[in-house]
């Protein structure tokens, strides 16, 4: 390959990585705004989050196009191809994180009555942990930092524990307050969405770790699985 072609290829990879970072920034803002809207019962802010998700989707579409063009034009091999595919996969995961944020925002108008009650009190802390995971995963991506990626993977267990805690609390709450079951179900879905965002942040971290070291990260300790039988 001539130097000119290599330089242009480097530019394309740089652009791909920058686009992933840009999408990441939007997804982070979406989660933050959705949780703020939930805490403040801010219906307008929730509406904005739903509307802005379109921008994340558009970025992902543009990125896909650039990936296809780059592969067609440069016919990259080995490591170069892996980097491009990694960018594509991470972009897909980030887009799903944006979708979960949108989903949370959509439920804000549906749970206004429960505000201030015990179940809602758990969500802000869970949201904060998840936001930090997403931030750290994206920072690790930008810096190609394997250690930071590992730290994110470690935090997933805390989020799983949080979710189990919310689940148990909500089940008890629903049994004691049957009239709130509809809204409580939405709170449960929001908690599940946050737990899934945590999982996705972990996926990004695993891909970053692999890209940086060439190896898969060590098997992570999982949180207690409430789907397992009680008497085990």
């Amino acid at each position: 390959m001539t130097e000119h072609t290599v330089k242009a290829f480097d530019q394309e990879i740089g652009e791909l990585r920058a686009m992933v970072a840009e999408m990441g920034g939007r997804a982070e803002a979406a989660i933050a705004d959705a949780m703020t809207a939930l805490r403040r019962r801010d219906l307008e802010l929730a509406q904005q989050v739903v509307g802005n998700d379109r921008l994340i989707d558009e970025l992902e579409a543009r990125l896909e196009k650039l990936v296809v063009q780059t592969i067609a034009l440069r016919a990259p091999m080995a490591d170069d191809l892996r980097v491009i595919i990694a960018a594509l996969r991470i972009a897909g995961v980030v887009e799903r994180i944006g979708d979960y944020a949108k989903n949370i925002a959509k439920r804000v108008p549906l749970i206004s009555h429960l505000a201030g009650e015990e179940p809602l009190a758990l969500l802000p802390s869970m949201g904060q942990t998840v936001r930090e995971m997403v931030k750290d995963a994206l920072d690790a991506f930008a810096a190609r930092d394997a250690d930071k990626a590992l730290a994110v993977i470690d935090q997933d267990r805390a989020v799983d524990d949080f979710y189990n805690s919310v689940f148990r609390t909500m089940v008890t709450f629903m049994m004691e307050n049957p009239r709130t079951i509809s809204e409580s179900a939405h709170v449960l879905f929001i908690a599940k969405n946050l737990e899934r965002v945590g999982d996705h942040a972990t996926n990004v971290a695993e891909m970053v770790y692999y890209a940086a070291t060439g190896q898969h990260p060590p098997e992570r300790v999982r949180g207690q699985d409430i789907l397992q039988q009680q008497d085990q």
Binding site: E22, G24, S125, K135, A142, A158, D161, S165
Partner: protein, 411 residues
């Protein structure tokens, strides 16, 4: 002697005079030698006259060459706050503060890899040329809650200046005030109500007259009052730590020494549980960038918890071990009842207790782990709590190792 004479001619004159003196000496003429000697003397005195300097003294040096004119690189380098020059969407120049904040890798990278807030990316990559200066408030660069004032100013068609200014200290101070009042009033009300209740009862003739009753009530009142005292100490501690949270500590603290110190204090205290302390000295030296007083408080809180919640007679261990290439792990392990997983994420919340009555009976304020968490955050470390119900708990703190005497490059 006002004749100006610069050095070389004066020296030449002395040389001539001396030479002539030698010649005349050899020709035996004392008078002539005297004349030569005197003229040499005059020449020396002239020589001492310095050229008169400029009338205005002590001005800074004038620029004389083109290289004296400062360039953008040195200008940016001289600014204390993080500053970047962005050219065609890439970070062309960054000062030390910016690299410490955003990471050393950002130089030459697309600016979106360093700062990805939508407000910034929209402004710089929105398709419209950057023609006016803007100011934005951002949260989440560096530490998760750190807030910044970010300014973008166009320098030319292709170059922009990006400046960051830390707002978090101011915000933290404001929020602290509000939080302090809320927390303090709630937790202080309970013991205060208890004390007032007992005072009322003692004022009443019957209860006050009966000595055993009076002594019992007074003991309870003293206990409650001391609880309030400990609580206030912890609240003030917490406020101070929070106010300082975004200022990086600047001392170098050896964790191994710290552990030895605290272990000695615990053993000498004479407390029953002091005998159960085990020190696992995995590392002889573990220097970290930190604040001696705060790390001491952190370890004290963790040890205090282990002593309170571990089963009496069982060992509790302090260990300092290497964690990764550039981090070290300090952990305290006890063999108590352990903590159920659903409580783990909330343990560092202020006043969160699993069993309120037990915690209060042991003398806990509910703030120990909140204080530990904030100290760990200030030190850019990580807090990890692992527990198996029925077996015990390990609280670990992972901290970055200090590099040599000047640790200012590690963020």
């Amino acid at each position: 002697m006002s004749v100006r004479l610069s050095r070389p001619p004066a020296l030449a004159l002395i040389a001539v005079a001396v030479g002539a003196a030698i010649v005349l000496y050899l020709s035996d003429s004392w008078a002539a030698m005297l004349v030569c000697g005197l003229s040499g003397l005059f020449a020396a005195m002239w020589r001492r006259e310095e050229a008169p300097g400029p009338i205005v003294q002590n001005r800074p040096p004038q620029p004389t060459e083109a290289s004296d004119q400062p360039d953008l690189q040195s200008l940016i380098g001289a600014l204390p706050d993080p500053a970047l020059i962005v050219a065609a969407g890439r970070i062309a120049t960054a000062n030390r503060a910016a690299l410490d904040l955003l990471g050393n890798h950002v130089l030459g990278d697309d600016v979106r890899l360093a700062i990805r807030h939508p407000a910034v990316t929209e402004y710089l990559f929105g398709g419209r040329p950057v023609t006016a200066a803007v100011r934005m408030e951002l949260v989440g660069i560096g530490a998760p809650d750190q807030s910044w004032d970010l300014r973008i100013a166009p320098l030319s068609q292709t170059h922009q200046l990006v400046l960051l200014s830390d707002r978090s200290a101011r915000q933290a101070a404001e929020r602290m005030r509000v939080d302090f009042v809320a927390n303090a009033s709630h937790e202080l009300r309970t013991p205060l109500a208890g004390i007032l209740g007992f005072i009322e009862t003692l004022k009443d003739g019957e209860a006050g007259a009966d000595t055993p009753t009076r002594e019992r009530f007074l003991a309870i009142m003293e206990g409650e009052a001391r609880r309030m005292q400990r609580l206030i100490d912890d609240l003030i501690s917490l406020s101070r730590i929070e106010a300082d949270k975004f200022r990086l500590p600047d001392q170098t603290v050896d964790l191994a020494d710290l552990v030895t110190e605290i272990a000695a204090v615990v053993r000498e205290n004479g407390h029953e549980r002091g005998r159960d302390l085990v020190v696992d000295s995995g590392l002889a030296r573990a220097p970290v960038r930190g604040d001696q007083a705060q790390l001491s408080q952190l370890l004290h809180n963790l040890v205090s918890n282990a002593m309170k919640y571990g089963q009496p007679g069982t060992p509790f261990t302090i260990a300092v071990r290497p964690d990764s290439a550039d981090t070290v792990r300090l952990s305290v392990t006890d063999e108590g009842d352990g903590i159920a997983p659903e409580h783990l994420p909330r343990l560092t919340e202020r006043f969160y207790r699993i069993d309120s009555s037990r915690s209060r009976a042991i003398g806990g304020t509910g703030l120990g782990l909140a204080i530990v968490k904030h100290i760990v955050e200030r030190h850019r470390g990580r807090l990890q709590i692992d527990s198996v119900p029925g077996k015990g708990t390990t609280v670990s703190v992972v901290l970055p190792v200090a590099n040599g005497p000047d640790a200012s490059t590690k963020a």
